[in-house]
């Protein structure tokens, strides 16, 4: 039994068996509820998920089976809790809510970590297949109404349109910030590559931005943009405004320039000098050398910088919720303001999932590029 899977399984089991709040039943969505432990909420039904979580920690269980069992355990926990919640809410007024407690979250995360650890040796296709199967099962359970009684699902039902719109907005904002940062970082990386003396100052400026606290930069941009729009009113006609998406995209982009610039610079320097010299000597022009030799060799290195920037973008755009840009951040901050945990989670969970998804996608592209080079 290896240490990491065993630890994950133990954490999950502890969350199930110790008296941690698992489910809490409250009179409405804002008031705190009365916490119940897993044993109190599920009764003897804690046994099957415990078993499902124990097996994947054993070395003898093959990785595919182990990962599938861990994922099944996570799903089973949710379904059982959904059932328990429905039971508890019976006879209570419609405003009553059954919220998820820290114990359940802990058990879920531990189960997913366990699945992730055991999936590591598997081929990319197998992993994708397992995750897809788990997601399909989750959706099937959701559409059959297994989670309908859970507070988070109630909150989502009430705000489905807003959440979907916020998700799209979030992706759009992050993409815009990434493109803007690329527009700034790419020419400067090229300039620094051609004239190495420029690289130092450019790097210092980009690194300097990182020192400014995120919230401060977002806030600072509002008066700055307002002043700019006052000075050049024509910008207003282009759709630029002092609050809303503009400051969010600009501030996020400012933070992305450093990882992008670093990735591009390292990528350009990655080309074997001998290959570049040979390309030159057999009659390739500068533009062709860049297109056919430097860029293809730079891609795997650049992808690493892109991955960092993309994950940062998804996280940072959340702050856009504070400057009127919308996105999932707006849900998080609205939830914070109302003290409505479910609303906060409704914003926060998709942000985490988006970041994980982006990271996974670029990482797999990276591996493929590195193999090709």
């Amino acid at each position: 039994m290896k240490a990491a899977p065993a630890l994950a399984a133990c954490v999950a089991a502890a969350a199930l068996l110790l008296p941690l709040p698992w489910l809490s039943v409250a009179p409405n969505r804002l008031l705190p509820g009365e916490p119940l432990s897993a044993l109190a909420a599920l009764g003897w039904l804690v046994a099957p998920p415990c078993l499902l979580l124990g097996l994947p920690a054993l070395d003898r269980v093959p990785p595919t089976v182990a990962a599938a069992l861990a994922l099944a355990a996570a799903l089973l926990l949710l379904v059982l809790t959904g059932g328990a919640a429905a039971e508890r809410l019976q006879g209570l007024p419609p405003a009553a809510r059954a919220g998820l407690g820290i114990g359940l979250w802990l058990a879920l995360v531990a189960a997913l970590v366990l699945a992730a650890i055991r999936m590591q040796p598997l081929a990319l296709a197998t992993r994708a297949l397992l995750v897809a199967a788990a997601l399909a099962a989750l959706l099937a359970a959701a559409s059959s109404g297994a989670f309908d009684a859970l507070s988070l699902a109630v909150e989502y039902r009430n705000r489905a349109d807003a959440v979907q719109a916020a998700l799209l907005r979030h992706v759009a904002l992050a993409t815009a910030a990434l493109l803007l940062a690329l527009l700034v970082a790419a020419p400067l990386a090229w300039a620094g590559f051609r004239h190495p003396r420029l690289a130092g100052p450019v790097g210092a400026v980009f690194a300097g931005v990182q020192v400014v606290p995120g919230l401060a930069l977002f806030a600072l941009l509002i008066p700055l943009l307002a002043a700019l729009l006052h000075a050049v009113p024509a910008l207003r006609d282009l759709g630029l405004a002092a609050i809303g998406p503009a400051p969010a995209v600009i501030a996020t982009a400012a933070y992305l320039t450093l990882p992008l610039w670093r990735g591009l610079s390292a990528g350009l320097a990655a080309a074997d000098p001998a290959a570049v010299a040979a390309a030159h000597a057999i009659g390739m022009g500068e533009a062709r050398i860049t297109r056919e030799v430097r860029l293809p060799l730079a891609l795997p290195v650049f992808a690493a910088g892109l991955r960092v920037a993309l994950v940062q973008a998804i996280g940072l755009v959340t702050l856009g919720g504070l400057v009127g840009a919308g996105g999932l951040g707006a849900l998080v901050f609205e939830g914070l303001a109302q003290f409505a945990t479910d609303l906060m989670l409704l914003g926060a969970i998709p942000i985490v999932l988006l970041a994980l998804l982006a990271d996974g996608l670029v990482r797999s592209a990276e591996t493929r590029l590195a193999v090709a080079a």
């Binding site: 040979a278 000597a281 057999i282 009659g283």
Partner: protein, 306 residues
């Protein structure tokens, strides 16, 4: 084929070449040899305009190259170097086909040429689809030479092409180059710091020192008694006369006297050094030469060309 006229090259404050004039005839394998910093690589890099002269001019195929288009000139001249510089993201076949592709050859013609070159360089055809990372040092060097030869240039520049391979592979590659030169009669400029390589491969050897040519001629001549002392010292390895004998064919010392009965016989391709070695080994002062009527006497061996 290539002519340098009073060429001066400076890099900052240092003078790399100081008034160099040299003629390289068509079909010659001209070995540029000299210590590090003598300017041999710079001299070669002038030919395809990787270096621009500060004074003097360079003529290739009778044309002043300052007036030609540099990329077009480079595509018309093969180039192979010590660090090979294969493109790591392209297959062996794509690497070899680079210049033909730049010249706009069609796919089938490129594919045919690649197959031809893999054969010429004795590379396994199965290597064509591999990436350079999967090749041994010797194979990579062969692919580099194949890439240089791809568009069938009449001039080939080689910058220490065998510098980074092990001695056995190096000997194989040298033999390969000699064969390719004999088969294709290309004009080859070879930069080397290995005197033995220069003497073995060159039909024309140029010795450089501190940016000047100190000696220039056929190998046996450049190491002969009348040649420059530095050149003899560099190339002779302490025994210039013996080196010279190894460069001259035994037929040089052949006279009409029939070989005495029981005299040992030299193989047809033997050098004067081989003749001397055989005499020292057998104690005979006259030996026979296979395929020849006369014989070789020790007195003539010691005074070749006299």
């Amino acid at each position: 084929m290539i002519a340098f006229e009073d060429v001066v090259v400076r890099f900052g404050a240092t003078t790399a070449l100081d008034g160099v004039s040299l003629q390289v005839g068509a079909g010659e394998l001209c070995a540029l040899v000299g210590p590090s910093g003598s300017g041999k690589t710079t001299l070669m890099r002038l030919v395809n305009r990787l270096v621009t002269p500060h004074a003097g001019r360079v003529l290739v195929r009778g044309e002043d190259i300052a007036r030609t288009d540099a990329p077009a000139l480079r595509r018309s001249i093969g180039y192979a170097m010590q660090s090979v510089g294969l493109f790591p993201h392209r297959t062996v076949a794509q690497n070899i086909g680079t210049v033909p592709r730049l010249l706009g050859w069609d796919r089938t013609r490129i594919a045919r040429r690649v197959t031809e070159l893999l054969g010429l360089l004795r590379l396994d055809a199965a290597l064509a689809d591999r990436l350079p990372g999967a090749l041994s040092g010797g194979q990579a060097q062969r692919v580099g030479i194949a890439r240089a030869l791809a568009a069938d240039p009449d001039i080939l520049l080689m910058d220490e092409p065998f510098g980074a391979v092990d001695p056995i592979t190096r000997r194989e590659l040298r033999a390969e180059l000699r064969r390719i030169h004999a088969e294709t009669r290309k004009t080859i400029l070879l930069v080397t710091h290995d005197p033995e390589e220069a003497l073995e491969l060159g039909t024309h050897v140029v010795v450089l020192r501190d940016g000047r040519i100190v000696a220039d001629g056929p190998p046996a001549e450049i190491i002969g008694p009348g040649s420059d002392a530095f050149a003899r010292d560099l190339l002779g390895g302490g025994q210039p006369a013996l080196r010279r004998l190894s460069l001259l064919p035994a037929t040089e010392a052949l006279d009409a006297t029939p070989p005495p009965p029981g005299a040992p016989e030299l193989p047809e391709e033997a050098s004067l050094a081989d003749a001397l070695s055989l005499m020292a080994e057998t104690g005979q002062d006259r030996v026979a030469l296979a395929g020849q009527d006369g014989s070789v006497a020790v007195a003539t061996v010691l005074r070749p060309g006299a």
